[in-house]
């Protein structure tokens, strides 16, 4: 394929604005897959993705399309994960393209996350092709949406394609617009190889498979290549493209998108954003934009049954094979025993991993409340990274603490500006900026602690704005905050896994809320259980779980033993989900109680 006939593009869209439906239609229209194959293959992705309606693992597909000029074009669609946790991955996918379709719902208009991705695409010098989807909806207002695109992004939307992925309307126009508007890749095919890794996955036969975009040079089977950041070298055993199943084509030339495999065992050797080059004649510099994986959110994962520790370890190791962003190390809790401190890109990533561990590996887990990484400056001049509140040194040894802040962008209809500001202020946010996107919608920017975001910021925004708010955030910096550790004592004993780090001014109310939430969650037991919240030795809140008075099964009707048995089994099952902490049986959800207080 000649370079001039290659187009590399991705699709930028908000959740539910129709990204995957449009992708499906493009695959179908170009005959890459028949409708039957579509159902069998394209939809056969992870259960969780389907349930949550989001893309966790990006898909890549090569489409062959005969343009209006009669020439054959190779269109490479590079899908991007659609969640704020995966911003870096999105940026690398975009860096592999020359253009992007901006898909906007004709009724709903531009959303914060879309906007963030469009800006990212513009930073990468991508040509943006606006597509207004769902124009068949009665509430569709394409003219307003066009105006919004022009006002917010400054793009000319006059030639936006009007489409309905559902009915198939506008699909051919989209394909033609890709051919006409998105530039062909440029680069020197004789220069030393530079291939950008934008995704990877593990195949049990071929090892780690890297998704790449060849920026210059070419890749052929048998070549010896090298990862510029990790230094790993390998010999190419497979090279090909996705249609969307992997097809071995023997080589990838400048401008093309596909995959490379070479008996690589560890996903950590194949890092998103890294540059692949020749082992013996390397490029003089890697492609820009690489950064290592940096988890933003940490939590403790513990098996309910301590005998499951090894199973949990195996499961985490297996998950890590396919997920370079997951990090973990052993951790011990006085209350929970042996477990792991795990780092995630964000809350969704954390949820997904937990759910997969429980579903796919049949593990019963206790998850401690998520935490960010604090920079703790000690009086002796040293600095500690603390991601587990239990590891916070005594107050007397702390000089000061810094916590991560993010730049949070919220888009809402202007009626809700007050609500957003109120919540953001309450969450210790500092107002930065406010822009009217059009006469109705406003974009508000706050500088706000990440710690507050991972609690219930977005949920609160959603409910205060009747679901209209959309949120995007990116790490901004670390700043000093007055933070203290709130400990929880059950029956007089501190439970390390329930400790939490909060802002000093909020500690008393957080302590009270946490104690009262725990009172709801911890079931009555045979004795009274005092619950205390304390800062250091100072008790700031106290509650009591009253003793259970009795627990007696009543009448046995006519020898119906099975019914009794079922009741007991239910009781036993309930107990299995609890962890004995000292003499107190504590349910799993207690360790996440901090997230459930309002």
């Amino acid at each position: 394929m000649q370079n001039k006939n290659i187009r590399n593009f991705s699709i930028i869209a908000h959740i539910d604005h129709g990204k995957s439906t449009i992708a499906d239609r493009l695959i179908e229209y170009t005959g890459t897959l028949s409708q039957r194959e579509m159902e069998a293959q394209v939809l056969d992705s992870m259960d969780l993705e389907r349930e949550r309606g989001i893309t966790i693992k990006a898909q890549t597909v090569r489409l062959d399309y005969k343009g209006k000029d009669g020439q054959l074009y190779q269109l490479n669609l590079i899908d991007t994960p659609g969640h704020v946790d995966f911003t870096y991955e999105v940026s690398r996918s975009l860096a592999a393209c020359e253009g992007a379709l901006l898909v906007v719902d004709a009724a709903q208009g531009v959303e914060a996350q879309t906007l963030a991705n469009v800006y990212m695409a513009l930073e990468n010098d991508l040509e943006i092709v606006p597509v207004i989807n769902k124009i068949d909806l009665p509430s569709a207002d394409p003219e307003r949406v066009k105006e919004e695109i022009e006002n917010t992004i400054g793009l000319d939307a006059s030639e936006a394609v009007l489409a309905s992925a559902k009915t198939g309307l506008g699909i051919e126009e989209i394909l033609d617009a890709i051919v006409e508007k998105i530039p062909a890749p440029e680069g020197d095919e004789n220069a030393p190889l530079q291939a950008l890794i934008f995704d990877s996955f593990f195949d049990s036969y071929k090892g780690v498979i890297a998704h790449v975009r060849v920026k210059q040079g070419k890749i052929k089977k048998g070549m010896r290549l090298k990862m510029m950041a990790t230094g790993k070298t390998f010999e190419v055993t497979d090279v090909g493209c996705f249609k969307p199943q992997p097809v071995d084509v023997g080589e990838l030339n400048m401008g093309e998108v596909g995959f490379v495999a070479g008996s690589l065992k560890d996903v950590r050797d194949v890092q998103v954003g890294d540059t692949i080059t020749f082992a013996d004649r390397p490029a003089d510099k890697p492609l820009p934009g690489y950064r290592g994986v940096t988890p933003m959110v940490y939590c403790g994962l513990y098996p309910v049954e301590s005998s499951d520790y090894d199973n949990l370890k195996d499961a985490l190791e297996k998950m890590q094979i396919n997920d370079a962003a997951l990090v973990f190390e052993p951790e011990t809790s006085v209350a929970l025993g042996f477990g792991f401190r795990c780092g995630f890109l964000g809350l969704l990533h954390m949820d997904v991993i937990q759910e997969r561990l429980e579903r796919e590996y049949n593990l019963k887990l206790i998850t401690t409340a998520p935490s960010v990484i604090y920079h703790v400056y000690k009086t002796d001049g040293s600095m500690l990274n603390v991601s587990n509140p239990a590891d916070l040194p005594p107050q007397t040894e702390i000089e000061h603490i810094e916590e991560p802040f993010v730049k949070a962008t919220v888009i809402v209809p202007n009626d809700f500006v007050g609500a957003v500001m109120e919540i953001s202020q309450e969450k210790r946010g500092v107002f930065k900026n406010m822009d009217y996107l059009d006469t109705n919608r406003v974009m508000i920017t706050y500088h706000i602690p990440l710690n507050e975001i991972i609690y219930d910021y977005f949920d609160r925004l959603k409910s205060a704005t009747r679901g209209y708010a959309s949120l995007d955030y990116e790490l901004a910096d670390y700043q000093e905050s007055k933070l203290v550790k709130v400990d929880i004592l059950l029956n007089g004993d501190p439970v390390d896994a329930l400790s939490t780090i909060v802002h000093k001014d909020k500690a008393p109310s957080r302590g009270r809320q946490l104690a009262s939430k725990l009172k709801e969650i911890i079931p009555q037991q045979m004795f009274e259980i005092p619950i205390q919240a304390a800062i250091g030795s100072k008790v700031i809140a106290r509650e009591n779980v009253r003793a259970r008075r009795k627990d007696v099964l009543a009448k046995c009707y006519g020898g119906d033993i099975s019914r009794k048995r079922k009741l007991l089994e239910k009781q036993k099952e309930g107990k299995k989900r609890m962890k004995a902490v000292g003499s107190v049986e504590v349910p799993q959800e207690a360790f996440m109680a901090i997230l459930k207080i309002d």
Binding site: D551, V552, A554, G558, K572, K575
Partner: protein, 378 residues
């Protein structure tokens, strides 16, 4: 071979507000056909087990309200029992609802070989009886027990309840005193449990059910378990108290791994280690029996683990508790080998007494019985 027979009569004049047992009001038109089907089942199933195991040690006719059946139908059933299961059954109990029985009815029962009566009284307080949907008054209850005694019955039980809406500790004390005055031999006392589908559950969801506070209910429980033994009624099972030698052998059978054959709609059987349940639908039951089909169905194929668990938690309901000897005899394994750790944990918590004979609930253990039983699930 010791075995028992349970016979279910699924009719009631009126459904009590707390009751979710399989019993139905307003089904008088089904009584005749039901009686015939039941007699048929007694003739076939009853006879076949009698031929195998001999005359049963106990027969228990429960419900529902067995005495809601007209005396003529009751006579037919008693006749069938005598013919196919045998006469002179050592313990032959019928549950009676005051308000459905009179002297003549007792004569009928007596003539049919019945030698033990269990009265569903629940409370000796008219206001409470009304509040829980009973059809009888205190006066009728007292009259029924007296009439039974006059008819010559010497083995009588009354059922009482505590934790009822509007009930006080004093009400419970009064009811116990009244039962004592009536000189019955056996008292069963059950705490109210809210079950789905009952009138109480509906009232609860509408916020119209005010139950005594937990402390009050606990005080009732404590009172009952202290007072009855003082009055000479020993607690031989979680909810059952009796004069010496007057324990219900039939009910003990449930806890002591004794086989029983259940006859009638919704009756449960435990035969050769398997548990069966008859269809609970009256019409379906009648139809099955009339077409020569069996009314029963295996609940589930028991696993060795299930059998062991049930043996343990059922035995623990009794004062005698779980015996090392019986356990070893049945399973060919030492009790401590299977439950040693469970027993010592529970002993440490003060819930179980463990000794060379086996283990049994302490007073505290009885109070948290469910909690203890659940620990015996493997």
């Amino acid at each position: 071979m010791q075995w028992g027979v349970y016979i279910h009569i699924p009719f009631c004049r009126q459904k009590c507000f707390y009751c979710d047992f399989p019993s139905y009001a307003g089904r008088e038109q089904q009584m005749k056909a039901y009686t015939e089907a039941l007699c048929q089942e007694i003739a076939i199933q009853g006879l076949s087990y009698r031929q195998k195991w001999g005359r049963p040690a106990t027969v228990y006719i429960g419900g529902g309200t067995p005495t809601a059946l007209p005396a003529a139908y009751m006579t037919e059933i008693l006749t069938a029992i005598a013919a196919h299961l045998g006469t002179d059954v050592p313990e032959f109990t019928v549950e009676c609802n005051p308000g459905t029985v009179d002297r003549d009815y007792f004569k009928v029962l007596q003539a049919g070989g019945v030698n033990r009566l269990s009265f569903g009284v629940q409370s000796f307080n008219d206001k409470l009886l009304k509040r829980i949907g009973r059809i009888h008054s205190v006066e009728e209850a007292v009259a029924a027990v007296r009439a039974a005694q006059q008819a010559g019955f010497t083995n009588l039980s009354v059922d009482l309840m505590y934790g009822l809406p509007g009930q006080t500790l004093q009400d419970v004390a009064d009811s116990i005193a009244q039962a004592q005055t009536l000189a019955v031999q056996h008292i069963s006392i059950y705490g109210l449990q809210l079950e789905e589908g009952t009138v109480f559950a509906r009232q609860e969801s509408q916020g119209r059910l005010v139950l005594p506070a937990d402390d009050e209910t606990e005080a009732m429980y404590d009172y009952i378990n202290e007072k009855l033994p003082q009055l000479g009624f020993a607690r031989y099972e979680v909810s059952n108290f009796a004069r010496p030698g007057k324990e219900s052998r039939h009910n003990l059978g449930y806890w002591q791994d004794v086989p029983y054959l259940g006859l009638g709609a919704a009756a449960h059987s435990y035969l050769e280690g398997r548990r069966y349940e008859n269809t609970a639908d009256i019409a379906a039951y009648i139809n099955r029996i009339n077409t020569g089909a069996s009314a029963g169905q295996l609940e589930e194929e028991p696993t060795p683990q299930h059998i062991m668990e049930e043996f343990a938690f059922l035995a623990l309901r009794t004062a005698e508790g779980l015996s090392r000897e019986k356990f070893a005899a049945k399973f060919n394994r030492e009790l401590s080998e299977v439950y040693g750790r469970t027993m010592s944990d529970l002993e440490k918590k003060g819930l179980l007494t463990v000794d060379e004979k086996g283990c049994r609930l302490t007073a505290k253990g009885f109070k948290y019985g469910n909690w203890v039983f659940a620990e015996f699930l493997l």
